[in-house]
Symmetry: C2
Subunit: 418 residues, 2 copies
């Protein structure tokens, strides 16, 4: 054993969740789960480890992504394995694996952690958790509507108001038709879509230059495309249906691309409208051929992903985090008068706990007065002191810390006042 001390730092790019942070994390996870379940979504889960082939399957571009942006290693059995960078390939694998036994349409959700090896910045860490919701097995456009309505409802259930966020929607099929009507060569459309994905991050001149390059120097077509993108005349069935559901903070945005190349129809994102946090909170879209990679019939689907880091930033920006999340979960603190009464305090705690009330026994070595103020600081509602008098008489006093009221008597009597 060496004398050099170990560092207490977490591994680079990941987070430790001390109780105050874990409480926020659990609040986010439980709100996500509750809203998804209120729409009838069922939870699934899988391991963080996946065979690397799952991400390489779609060609060279993906192979580069796996090599450069994921945590990939070779295990002792000489298998190449990757820490999942996103959940969609995993859920496609699982759905394809039981396609015959499952009853479609499926509504599935999960809250996995994912790893990406990338440059760190605000809202981006190397490990993040993500709510993933998908509907599999229908091409009905009301499934697209439902997914966006679910995303909307999640934010509402966190206490947000519709002015705090904006839903942007586009449709890749419609865009294909519009490009082709303008005479854009079909093979250039993926490159244009990719460029549009960065349009709000680059200046107008660079955008025009890159677009012109993609189009082989056709400057007239560049102008026609920009005019088409900026004209807000179209609406889709999805946008109209959302307004019928009372969801009106929706913009049809022809520049919206969303990165993943597996999207084939509706794409959407939700953006924070605060200038302090002007980012996408979630993104999703329709994919009609993901499960095809595994053989069998393709199963259409639509899904979205929503990260924990951007979610927390949104809640903090709009002051939506409840204040008492970090308090102790115990209703009662049982306090031994001194440490010789620790076991007696545990006994009293057990009787109270058996009636369904949470109790912490403070077996620390601080003075009685300090233990009482600690209990109050941690948000306990009641204390019960256990000392010589209480044990010999078997009469205890339950003190309400907000009103100062005391109830005295045998332990199984005083719990009735709780």
């Amino acid at each position: 054993m060496s004398n050099k001390h170990l560092s207490t730092d977490a591994y680079k790019g990941v987070r430790d969740f001390y109780p105050e942070d874990a409480a926020i994390q659990q609040y986010i996870f439980s709100t996500w789960a509750k809203t998804a379940e209120s729409f009838g979504f069922e939870r699934y889960d899988a391991s963080i480890l996946e065979p690397s082939d799952l991400y390489k399957a779609k060609g060279a571009e993906n192979e580069e992504m796996v090599n450069e942006q994921t945590y990939t290693f070779t295990d002792r059995g000489d298998r190449e394995v990757t820490l999942r960078p996103e959940m969609t390939p995993t859920v496609a694998r699982m759905v394809a694996g039981r396609a015959r036994a499952l009853s479609f349409p499926l509504r599935w959700y999960s809250i996995p952690n994912c790893f990406r090896y990338e440059r760190m910045q605000r809202g981006r860490l190397r490990e993040f958790w993500q709510l993933n919701c998908d509907i599999f097995g229908t091409t009905d456009h009301t499934a697209d509507v439902e997914m966006i309505a679910l995303a909307y409802q999640i934010l509402i259930d966190f206490g947000a108001t519709p002015d705090m966020f904006e839903i942007r929607v586009n449709d890749r099929r419609l865009m294909n038709r519009l490009y082709i009507a303008l005479g854009v060569p079909e093979e250039t459309i993926p490159a244009i879509t990719n460029l549009n994905d960065r349009r709000d991050k680059i200046d107008d001149q660079s955008y025009r230059t890159e677009l012109k390059k993609i189009l082989g120097g056709n400057g007239l077509l560049v102008e026609e495309i920009i005019m088409m993108l900026d004209k807000s005349d179209e609406q889709t069935d999805v946008v109209i249906a959302l307004s019928e559901l009372g969801i009106t903070n929706v913009v049809f945005d022809k520049s919206l691309a969303r990165g993943f190349d597996y999207y084939t129809g509706t794409v959407f994102e939700v953006r924070d409208t605060s200038p302090d946090n002007n980012r996408a909170l979630l993104g999703g879209g329709r994919y009609d051929n993901l499960t095809g990679l595994f053989g069998g019939d393709p199963i259409p689907g639509i899904g979205f992903g929503m990260g924990d880091v951007t979610m927390r930033d949104f809640l903090e920006t709009h002051k939506l985090l409840p204040e008492n999340l970090q308090k102790t979960t115990s209703t009662v603190v049982a306090i031994p008068a001194d440490s010789t009464f620790n076991l007696e305090a545990h006994k009293a705690a057990k009787v109270i706990r058996d009636s369904g009330i949470s109790v912490t026994t403070d077996i620390g070595t601080k003075k009685l007065g300090k233990k009482i103020s600690d209990a109050s600081d941690k948000g306990a509602e009641y204390i019960i002191v256990v000392g010589e008098d209480e044990v010999s008489s078997q009469s205890f006093s339950l003190k309400n810390l907000s009103t100062g009221e005391e109830t005295s008597g045998p332990i199984n009597k005083i719990i009735e006042s709780l």
Copy 2:
């Protein structure tokens, strides 16, 4: 893109959690969390990735464990990183990192996943989840009592009765004293403890042979040690205190070792008493010097870990899993008469959901009758059919699937009967 289809299998040694398994997993996690919180334990969490040094720190034996039994790789920044094989080093790191700011004693719990690269067998997979509970910052023996009482209560809260499991307790300090009183050389005690850890897995003759080897051939001492181990005359404060709390399915077992070499006092485990599943469900112990590796004052602690795989085996062996876990979580299923009414069904669903009731909208393409029987199979309590008559009259019928009763009227009226 190749034509070879991707496999739908999960990575070797890990599990996919389809909804029926995820529901069981969530039931186990939420019961663990609820009972731990009822004792005042606060949740923490950390990343699955840790610097490999965290596990190598305690010397060559650990270095071997890291090299042979963990998932360890070198990242793109040339850091050696390990998928945590257990949570205790992580929680020790976190406690040491904020030792000055934290208020002791701490009660912390977590439900992390862990990875071990080992031969697979019943109850052992390469990835498992584990409830970890620890009390830091006290040497008081009633903390040991509380930890065992918590373990007991978790099983009771799953519906177990005390005859279904047995708590075994030992104390390494006491064992050291007993060995030394017999004249056992102090330097051989760790090897004897290790051997005892395997005593119930090897035959008596092999045990004697190995023990004799450790003791340099002293056959008399072998017999004296075995006699001492098998004599059940001692009790510890911990066992006596447990019986005062009403916990009597406790055995003081001098052969009990528990693998980890960081234990320094009380060690304990809970075993399933069923002959079909005769294994340890959880194990734990007191460690008085874990945080010392990080510098600063050592902080004493006691903790245990309880795995999800063995927990589920226990619940299945004793038929303790609730039956309806795998049912849908929705109370109501909204059923469009045909797919042209999908959006109208979503609208009705939204009104019902806004009153706090979960609703699934069945936008599948099956016939109406099949959709109704599907809703019933999935455990829905009510259905509401949305078709031409309902939409034109804005009068809907809510049907109770168990009683057959129907309530009709405008949507915001009929939800009052829910």
